[in-house]
């Protein structure tokens, strides 16, 4: 089990971690023009709005890039696959890939989100997408 360094949420990203605790992957959508972005930012660069609404994401995407995180000392004494995911909503985020061997990982592989407690902390994680979604 890897050790998870806890986030230290601030006023701009606390919503993400609160939603993750409830098993939901979300982002902010600009209340003025609907633009979404990740990581979150307090002002919309398109319209200048500082108001936003929470938007639930599909959790489906493809692997943009990936590495095996392994270190001889803490915190990653056990290897974890770290991925950069292109979500189908058009934003990118970092997470982990689970339920697959590193030898079977490839760029553009379809993945889907799930939530799991890692080192006692609930994190969004990804796994290879279910077969029917791959064949679409």
């Amino acid at each position: 089990m890897p050790r998870v360094i806890r986030p230290v949420p601030d006023l701009d990203d606390a919503f993400f971690w609160e939603a993750a605790r409830d098993g939901r992957l979300v982002t902010r959508a600009c209340a003025g023009c609907g633009r979404i972005a990740h990581p979150p930012s307090p002002m919309c660069p398109a319209c200048g709005s500082v108001d936003w609404t929470e938007r639930e994401l599909s959790g489906r995407g493809t692997i943009h890039s990936w590495i095996v995180s392994r270190h001889p000392s803490q915190p990653d004494d056990a290897p974890r696959i770290v991925i950069l995911v292109d979500l189908e909503e058009g934003i990118r985020l970092v997470s982990n890939l689970r339920e697959v061997d590193a030898a079977d990982v490839s760029n553009e592989m379809p993945v889907e989100v799930f939530f799991d407690e890692v080192d006692g902390f609930r994190l969004p994680q990804f796994r290879p997408a279910a077969a029917q979604e791959v064949s679409v």
């Binding site: 806890r6 995180s69 990653d76 994190l123």
Partner: protein, 381 residues
């Protein structure tokens, strides 16, 4: 900048590069600055400006007290760590050309091996900017950067052995540079492939820069004043930073195409527009490399080769001492030392003076690029 108002680098100085300096970071800074002033034929009394990194621990006033700088008119610092290394010269040039200061010293000094080591994994939360990375295990620069590099490898079909082609060149250059930590210690590609994985399948140990103790310094004034000083004239032909919306220093994952380096492409565009020069006019290039793949990105961004061609460009010998564009002739941060990229600027000056250990013949223009900042230095008439 107009030809009549150029800045010049008139002095360079450094300590030895080591793994355990045995002295304070302030002492390293003071020794490097004093050496640079002596090289220029100036003293602390002539200095009225300072530039260093935001990350440097050495207080300007403590440095002034150590080297005898009586009054400071200009004190500024550059952000973005090593990416901002060449921006120190931009700051200093802006100060002297505007008349806001007359003589500016640039310094960078640290015990990055025997003291605080940048490459160690984080053990606890940092600022909120790290929230979307640290919990998933992106806890060290090797991993943070590798998630960027892997896309480049995928798009262009490279393996880690391809990155090793650069490591071999850097160590070959260091092997004949008495100043380099790895002086007399070249490596083969087999050595590279036998070094341990740091981030599989991206980086091995011999893709990573060193951890070093040491200090370096530069003295900057106007080209006009430089003509009265003792060293051959080295001018700042152009200087810029390269920062692009949605970029990030450690987590540069959000540009549409991360097999490219938009920050370096911006730097190239501005330097070439400012000087009227192009890649064919650059005689030697210093390319910041915390990790070997960054050389590949920058060779392409600065137009020395096309996107995706850096591997063949290096394999064909173009960046060797007798190649079309010799790169990191001192051994770079892999071979000489990791003084956060500022040691690369000292080597650029030596190449233009004709005093480098691995001197290239008839050098007129040197690029010193650090990813997010870059300068072109010229040999004065």
């Amino acid at each position: 900048m107009a030809a009549s108002a150029k800045a010049a680098i008139v002095g360079i100085g450094q300590t030895e590069f080591s793994k355990n300096s045995g002295r304070s970071e302030l002492q390293l800074a003071a020794e490097a600055v004093r050496a640079a002033l002596a090289d220029a034929g100036l003293s602390g009394r002539d200095v009225d400006g300072t530039v260093t990194f935001t990350q440097d621990t050495n207080d300007e006033l403590a440095l002034a007290r150590a080297v005898g700088i009586e009054e400071i008119r200009w004190a500024s610092r550059t952000p973005f760590g090593g990416g901002g290394a060449s921006a120190t010269v931009e700051h200093a040039a802006a100060a002297v050309i505007s008349g806001m200061a007359n003589v500016v010293v640039v310094y960078r000094a640290f015990n990055e091996r025997s003291g605080h080591r940048f490459g160690q994994p984080a053990q606890q939360a940092r600022s909120a900017g790290f929230n979307f990375y640290l919990p998933y295990g992106l806890d060290a620069p090797t991993k943070m950067y590798s998630l960027w590099f892997q896309r480049y490898m995928h798009v262009y079909g490279l393996t880690n052995a391809d990155f090793g082609l650069y490591s071999v060149v850097a160590r070959r250059h260091a092997a004949t540079n008495p100043n380099a930590w790895f002086h007399g210690k070249p490596i083969t590609l087999a050595d590279h492939q036998n070094s341990r994985w740091i981030v599989e399948p991206i980086l091995r140990l011999l893709d990573c820069c060193q951890e070093s103790d040491g200090g370096v310094a530069l003295v900057v004034t106007t080209a006009e004043r430089a003509r009265d000083l003792r060293q051959p004239l080295v001018t700042v032909e152009a200087a810029t930073q390269g920062n692009v919306i949605d970029g990030d220093v450690l987590f540069n994952y959000y540009h549409p195409d991360i097999a490219r380096f938009p920050e370096a492409e911006m730097g190239a565009r501005i330097l070439y527009e400012t000087t009227g020069l192009g890649p064919a006019d650059i005689d030697v290039a210093m390319l910041y490399e915390n990790f070997s793949p960054v050389v590949f990105y920058q060779l392409e961004a600065y137009g020395f080769c096309k996107p995706g061609e850096a591997r063949d460009f290096i394999a064909d010998g173009h960046i060797d001492l007798d190649g079309t564009i010799p790169v990191n002739t001192h051994g770079g941060l892999l071979g000489e030392a990791y003084i956060h990229g500022v040691n690369n600027i000292l080597e650029a000056v030596r190449q233009l003076r004709g005093t480098a250990a691995n001197q290239v013949s008839d050098v007129r223009h040197v690029l010193a690029a650090a990813g997010r900042s870059a300068i072109i230095l010229g040999r004065g008439a």
